[in-house]
Every structure is written in C-alpha cells, then in structure tokens.
C-alpha cells in the first residue's frame, strides 16, 4: 500500500510537457469512448444477429413446415384421387384397377415408390408399378395395415421403414413412409373393406429437409413422430449407432414454441412446429455458440473500426496538442533564454489570446526588471563614489592640524623664512589636494604634492632623514588617484624614520613597466616581517601614532576601487632593513575623457581589457 502511495505521489510529482499531457488525456478519452462505442456496437449487433437468427430459423421452420405439409397434402390427394375416382368407381370383380393405378403412379412417380390396394384379409387387389408380391409376406402383420384397419376414417402415416412387399429383381430396397387408409371395395356388386396403401419415397421427405439443413453454423432441423421417434435427422445414422445424441424424447413434450434448453451442457434454442394431420413435429435446433461463431466477422470489423478510429484520434490529438502547446513552448523557450543569462531576450508574443497576453506581460516585466537593475547599478556607483569621497576627506584635518602647529612654532621661534616656505608648500599642497574637486589627477601633480608634503615634513622633523625622488619623465602625464603617495610617505616617516637619528633615507621611485606604472616608497627604517607586512593590507592597521591617520588600507582600497582588483599596493619588508611600498596602477594618459571616465567611478578593468584587446 505504501509502495502504491509512493508510486502515486512520485507520479504526481512527475512533470510532463503540456503537449504530452493534452495528448495523453485526449488519447485516453478517445480510447475509452471508442472502446465503449465498440462494445455497445458489438452488443447491439450481437443482439440483432441473435434475433435475426431466431427469426430466420423460425421462418425456415415455417417454410419447411409449409413444404412438408404441402407434400403430405399431395400424398393425401393422390390417395383421395385413387379412392374416389378409381376404387369407388370400379368393381374389382369384373374390372381391373391396373390402368388407373399405373396412370396415377406414373403421374407422381417422383414422389411415390408404390401404390397398392389390399382387401381386408390382406390379399393384394392391385399394385403399381410392381404387382408381384414377395412370397410369404403377411401384410396384416405390418403396422400400416393394422393402423388403417384400426381407425377406418383416418389417413395413417407410418414412420420410415424399408418396404417389404414386392419382389423387385433389380435388388432395390426403398425407405418409404406409408400412407394407408381403409377403403370400400366393390366386388361383384358387394361392398367390402380394404386398405389403400400409398408408399411415399422417404428420400423426397429427406431432400425437403436437407434443404433446411444446409447451414454450417450448427443450426439444424429434424422431424419426429408425436411419440418422439425420429423420422428424419441429419445425423440419424450416428444417433442410431450411439455416436450422437438428440433430445427428442423431451422435445416430444414441447408445444409449438421456442424453448431454451440445456442438453449435455450445450445451450440451445429449440423451436417446435407441429405438422398438421400427421402430428409430426418439426424441430429447429440453434446452438447458442453458433451466434458467437457467426459474429466473428462482425467482431473483427468492430475491432478494426475501433482501432482505426483510435489511431486517427491519436494522430489528431498529436496535431491538436502540438498546435495548442506550440506558442507556450516558444514562450517557455524565451523564458529559458532569459534564465540562461540573456538579459535582453526576444520574448515570443503570439498564439492564442491568453498566450499572447502572457507574452506581452512577460516582455514588459523583463523590461521593468532590466530598468530596475540599471537603476541599482547607478545607485551602487553613486554609493561607491560617496565612499571614495569620504575616504579622501579623512586626510585633511590631521595633516592641516600638524602643519599649522609647526608653522605656529616657527613663527613663535621667529623663523619667518621657514614659516613662509612652509606656508608656500602648504598652499601648493592644498591647491593640488583640491584640484578643483577632481579625484583623478596627473602623476606629475601627485609627485609635486608628495614633494610639497615631504618639504613640510622635513622642516617639521628638522631634516632628520633624506628624501630623493627618481621619477621617470614618461609617466608624469599618467592618471592617478590623488593623495596616494602622501600616506605612504607619511607611513615611512612615522614608522621608519622616527628612530633613525638622521640616518633615515626615503627613496621615491616612479617608472613604467609594460603598460603599468609603479610608484615606490622605500625606507630604511625598522621594517617588519613579510607576514606582518602582508597583514597591513588586510585591514590590520598599526596603531596610529601621528599623521593624517589614513593608513595603507585606505590607499589600497581607493586604488582598487578606481582601477580594479588587479591593482593596488604591494608591500615588501624585512625586519631591520626597511620597507618598500609599491603603488601599482595602469598607465592611462591623462586627458579630459580619461579623467572623467575614472571620476565616474566606472570599473576601469573592463575598459582596459577591451582596450587591450583593441590594441592587440
């Protein structure tokens, strides 16, 4: 049970294509309908065929009865003709019946075997066509004679038997049905009783009934006497030999009707019809299985029709489902394209009204989402720019405070020239710092700014260290984020020079390598282990001592933000030997366009990559 539930659940979870679902649903529906229709059609046909078979058998039985009655009526007429036109008008004492009897026989010889007239004591008066009696034959012992003598007024039909009356030298023996009656004979004016015998050829009756037994489906007709003795049966010899059985004894009790009977396990429809005058019963037997045998062709036809219709329905379902699902599949393909990353997919609009509406809605949704994403990008850019501005603005207050403090001390110490120089340097420094609000400036200006700064610091530190600048000329027109050298110099002074006692050296180098620019600030201060130096760029700032408070991390972040992840600071340091901090930036010639582009905060790496491809 659990498994079935699991299967069902699993089945429910399965996703099928829309076309498959429509196709399967329609196909199941059509198959069910067709099968139902087929079964109903077949049953209808079966019922009609059964009725038709029963009706046919009844008609056949009626027709056979009519033919048989007609035949027997003819026989009676022959007997009547013989009696009323010949025997009654002949005195057998003086005249012979021979000519008239021969004439009557000849006229009906296809149906008759013989006609004979006997006196009441069993002596032959006349017979046709053979008049020679077999020696020793006692007709009075024969049943037909006894029947006729017993009931004077009636015709008597015997059951079939082999005629045993006349000596036929051609060795012929005939099965006959004897029609006998009592007649009045006139001999020499005296009347006496006699028996007129008309022996009908049994083969005529047999042929008549064989015509009704040409059906090969198992249906047959047989004839029996009122007491159930079989007169004709298509398998009479087999019945006699015990190779076949018939339900004649029971059928003898049936009235003229159709009865359903079960004989030796076989269901049959038995129709009974009584033949007038003789009391014989004509029985039609229709085995029920003959219905199904006859319906084989119809069953095949119904199956063929149902199968063809199902096939046509399946194909039609396929076409219709494909037509219905095609616009949806195309719409689905558009969505898949969108899912795959194409932010500007060609959304399909078409098909039925509903699908078209879906397409339009989806297209407008995609456009809205794209717009929203653009807005988010712009917003992010704005945010980044704000961050940059905030970082830069951290420099000014510390430095200004320190420098002004130095100037105050100079003036106080009446070192006016130094104060003037300092103020001049400070003014130059601020001019470059402001740079009309630009964030990106020429390397030349940045170097100049660095020089100003170092000049100020040298005065403050009373020339306790040496500074030299070795900047290659060809990088001076390159772009750089402003105020990146100054923090490095500040770092070198505060952490490298403070304990050097006049032996400190700071080297500032600038050069170009391939398409990149490198600016290095190297000191011979205390330095630190490489691992510790590497940590400086991961946000582990050393505790502030003096200066602007803007650390290496700040510079590193600004460079990366502006030029991309590939750029920034590199620190090389060795304990007691000093430290070298390197600025790595791309070489971008300073123009109004490049300056504005970098200022906009857009990612330079994508531009530089495409620029590289273009240049290659």
């Amino acid at each position: 049970m659990e498994k079935i539930r699991e299967l069902l659940t699993h089945k429910n979870k399965k996703t099928r294509s829309m076309q498959m679902t429509i196709s399967i649903s329609f196909t199941i529906l059509s198959v069910c309908c067709m099968c139902l229709l087929g079964v109903m059609l077949y049953q209808q046909f079966t019922r009609k065929a059964e009725n038709l078979t029963v009706e046919n058998s009844r008609q056949l039985l009626n027709q056979t009865t009519i033919n048989l009655e007609d035949y027997l009526r003819n026989m009676r007429r022959i007997s009547d003709a013989m009696y009323y036109t010949v025997i009654k008008n002949t005195d057998i004492g003086s005249e012979s019946l021979e000519d008239s009897m021969n004439l009557l026989y000849e006229a009906n010889k296809d149906k008759l075997v013989s006609v004979a007239c006997y006196t009441n004591d069993g002596k032959l008066t006349e017979a046709s066509p053979i008049a020679t009696e077999k020696p020793g034959v006692d007709v009075k012992s024969q049943k037909w004679f006894q029947d006729a003598a017993g009931e004077l007024e009636n015709f008597h039909f015997s059951t079939p038997h082999v005629q045993n009356l006349f000596d036929d030298p051609s060795y012929r023996y005939y099965w006959v049905v004897s029609l006998s009656r009592t007649v009045e004979l006139t001999r020499n004016g005296n009347t006496m009783l006699g028996v007129l015998l008309v022996d009908m050829n049994y083969s005529s009756i047999e042929q008549l009934l064989e015509k009704a037994n040409t059906d090969t489906s198992g249906e047959y007709v047989y004839l029996m006497a009122p007491d159930g003795e079989i007169i004709y049966h298509p398998k009479q010899n087999l019945i006699h030999m015990g190779l076949y059985e018939e339900n004649n004894t029971e059928a003898a009790g049936y009235e003229d009707t159709t009865v359903k009977e079960n004989f030796h396990g076989e269901k049959r429809l038995v129709t009974v019809k009584t033949i007038s005058y003789t009391g014989w019963k004509l029985i039609s037997v229709v085995p029920m299985k003959s219905f199904s045998m006859g319906m084989t062709g119809m069953r095949n036809l119904v199956v063929l029709l149902v199968a063809l219709t199902v096939l046509a329905a399946v194909m039609l379902n396929q076409m219709v489902s494909a037509r219905i699902s095609k616009p949806l599949r195309r719409l689905n393909d558009s969505v898949k394209e969108w899912e795959a990353g194409n932010m500007n997919p060609d959304i399909y609009i078409g098909g039925s009204m509903e699908v078209e509406h879906l397409g339009k809605t989806l297209r407008s949704t995609v456009a809205q989402i794209r717009q929203l994403m653009d807005d988010i990008v712009v917003e992010q850019e704005e945010k980044r720019k704000s961050e940059l501005d905030a970082l830069q603005s951290q420099i000014n207050p510390h430095f200004l405070y320190n420098t002004l403090d130095s100037i105050v001390w100079m003036i106080t110490g009446e070192r006016y020239d130094d104060a003037v120089f300092m103020i001049t340097q400070l003014a130059s420094l601020f001019r470059i710092s402001l740079s009309k609000g630009k964030t990106v400036i020429k390397i030349e200006d940045e170097v100049k700014h660095a020089r100003n700064y170092m000049n100020i610091q040298k005065i403050r530190y009373k020339n306790s260290f040496e500074v030299d600048f070795q900047i290659e000329e060809d990088i001076l027109d390159g772009c750089i984020v402003k105020l990146v050298l100054q923090p490095l110099l500040e770092n070198a002074i505060y952490y490298g020079m403070e304990f050097m006692d006049g032996e400190g050296e700071i080297h500032v180098r600038g050069y170009r390598k391939d398409k990149d620019v490198y600016l290095e600030v190297e000191d011979n201060g205390l330095g630190m282990p490489e691992e510790e130096a590497a940590e400086l760029l991961n946000g582990k700032e050393r505790p502030h001592k003096h200066g602007s408070g803007v650390g290496l991390v700040n510079v590193h972040s600004r460079l990366k933000l502006r030029f991309g992840e590939a750029y920034g600071l590199v620190i090389h340091s060795c304990p007691d030997e000093g430290m070298m901090v390197q600025i790595h930036i791309p070489y971008i010639p300073y123009t109004v366009e490049t300056q504005k582009f970098l200022e906009s905060g857009k990612d330079y790496s994508s531009v530089s990559a495409s620029g590289k491809e273009g240049s290659e």
Binding site: R16, S17, M20, T27, K134, H161, V162, N164, D167, D168, P169, Y171, R172, Y173, Y174, W175, N201, Y202, S203, E206, K235, N237, L238, H240, M241, L243, T296, G297, N300, L301, V303, L304, A307, L308, V310, L311, V314
Partner: protein, 316 residues
C-alpha cells in the same frame, strides 16, 4: 521524455498490430483453412458393397471438416497396384490416407518413407509397427458364421475363403476351420478368390465335389456362390456368408442365402475418418484400434428396424 516516447511507440505498435490482425482475420474469413484432405483407397471403389462405407465416410468428412477423396479404383490384381495408388496419394495433396490393404504385407502396401497418417480399414497387415485400424474382429466373425453353419446341421462344408493374402481373410478362415473341426463337420474344399474364379469356369467341379453347405468369407465370393446356385440346378447349397450388397440382401430375402454376417461399414467409414482427422490435426503417433461390430442377418430379422439401419444406411 524518452520513456514517454517509448510508451507512445509501444501504444502505436499495439494499435497497428490490432489493425493488422483484424484486417487479416477479415480477409481470411470464410477460407476453409482448417480443412484437411484425406484420401481413401479401397479395392474396386465403385462396387455397391462400399455404399454404406461411403456414407459413413461422407458423414465423417462433413463432421470433421475433411476434404474427402475416394480414389477411384478398379479390382486390384495384385498388391503393387494398390501400393502405387497409396504412394501417389501420400506424395500428393493428401494429409493422410485410409487404406483397405489388399495384402497383409506392410512393405508391399505402404510406402515406408511417408510420415503421413495411415488408417487401415477392413483388415490389418503383418508388421511390428502399430497402425490405427478400424475393422471387425475377423476371428469372431468367422466363429459366428461357423456357429450358424453348425446350427443349420451341416454335414459337409465347402469354404470360399476370399483373398487369402489379406490377414483378415486368413483369420476368418482359421476361425471357421477351427470351429467346424471342433464340431466334427467335414470340410470338403476350401477355395480362395482366384481358385474360385478358375473353378467357376469348370462348372462340373462343384457337381463333382458336392457339399450341403458353403461358407463364403467375402462379399464378392458370396455373390459368386449365389450365381453358382442360381445357374446350376444340381447345386443346392445352404449358403452362409459375409456381405452386404443389395444383391446378397435380395437373395437372403428370397431364401437363397441362409444367413449373412454384415459388418457395420457405415461405422467403419465414419470412425476411420474421425481417427484419420485426429492423427492429422494433432500430429499424434498414438494409434487406436477401433472394432467394428457385425450383425448376423437372416430372413427372420431382415426387416427389423435395427437391421434396416445397418443394411440400408443410405436412403434411396
């Protein structure tokens, strides 16, 4: 998706198979595919003595869906003639044959190479191989004839022994001889079919070798014996014989023949077809030996209903 495609394809194949099957059934409807063909080879096939046998064959063929081919034959002069016909039928269209062996030698009658079913009727053959057969108990038939002769107070008996190359005839003769010898009745002469033909040309033979009773073991010999009686006033045999032709029945009726042993040849014909059809349809090597009853018919019971059915199964 792939599973769906396979299911769809299978469904389509099933539908196409149903269409194919139904169409095939409709096209072939009414064709008598289930009919089989059986040939029947008997000596002198047009002889009226086969009438009852033929009726039985025809009824059996109708009931068992058999195309019946009663091969037209004359009187065989030797077994080779029958062998040729049987071989031709087995090599031809026949699915099986029903044979009345002219001789008891199997090799002489039946081609050894054929695997088609063979049903023997009337008489058997001497072989180690078992054949399906439909025949009377010849020993019993001979004994019944001998009993009738003994009851008729016979003193000196002549025997017409028919075709003694047939096993059945030899069995009949042996049985008759044993019974008569047991009863102490003298057997004056025994003539086979061919010897009888020769003796019939010498009309004096029977006058010179008088007997009071003759037993004929074969229909044709019984008819010849009737002819001898009718043609020679000096001969007044009490005739007992086997046979069923209308001529014999007529002379039984006239009193020329005392008693006839009549095998139920309608049953023999019907049953032989039934067994042949079974062997052919079910490809079975199973053999069956069906015994055919015989009836002793005298003038007293000639017109009994039961006798009539045996003697005259075919309606004229």
């Amino acid at each position: 998706m792939k599973k769906n495609r396979i299911s769809g394809l299978l469904f389509l194949l099933v539908i196409l198979a149903v269409i194919g099957y139904s169409a095939h059934e409709m096209v072939n409807q009414g064709k008598d595919e289930d009919y089989i063909s059986v040939s029947v080879v008997v000596n002198d096939s047009s002889n009226v003595r086969w009438d009852a046998f033929r009726s039985g064959l025809e009824q059996g063929a109708e009931d068992n869906h058999v195309h019946l081919n009663l091969v037209s034959t004359g009187t065989f002069q030797n077994a080779q003639e029958e062998h040729t016909i049987v071989k031709r039928e087995l090599d031809g269209e026949a699915d099986g044959v029903i044979v009345e062996p002219y001789s008891s030698e199997a090799d002489v009658i039946l081609p050894t190479e054929s695997a088609k079913p063979v049903v023997l009727v009337g008489t058997g053959i001497e072989t180690d191989r078992l054949f399906t057969s439909v025949m009377t108990d010849h020993g019993k038939l001979g004994k019944s004839l001998a009993d009738a002769v003994i009851q008729g107070k016979a003193v000196k008996v002549g025997i017409l022994s028919g075709n003694q190359s047939q096993l059945g005839m030899r069995q009949r003769l042996k049985s008759v001889k044993d019974k008569l010898e047991e009863a102490g009745i003298e057997i004056s002469w025994i003539l086979s079919e061919k010897e009888l033909d020769k003796k019939m040309r010498n009309v004096e033979y029977f006058a010179e070798h008088p007997v009071d009773t003759v037993i004929s073991l074969d229909n044709d010999d019984t008819e010849k014996a009737v002819d001898i009686i009718l043609n020679d006033d000096r001969i007044s045999w009490k005739l007992y014989g086997e046979g069923r032709s209308e001529k014999l029945i007529y002379y039984l009726d006239k009193g020329t023949i005392q008693e006839l042993a009549v095998p139920n040849e309608y049953y023999m014909g019907y049953q032989s077809i039934v067994l042949a059809a079974q062997n052919i349809r079910y490809y079975t090597d199973k053999t069956e030996q069906a015994e055919v009853e015989f009836y002793m018919v005298s003038k007293d019971n000639l017109y009994d209903e039961e006798t009539n059915r045996i003697l005259f199964p075919a309606v004229r």
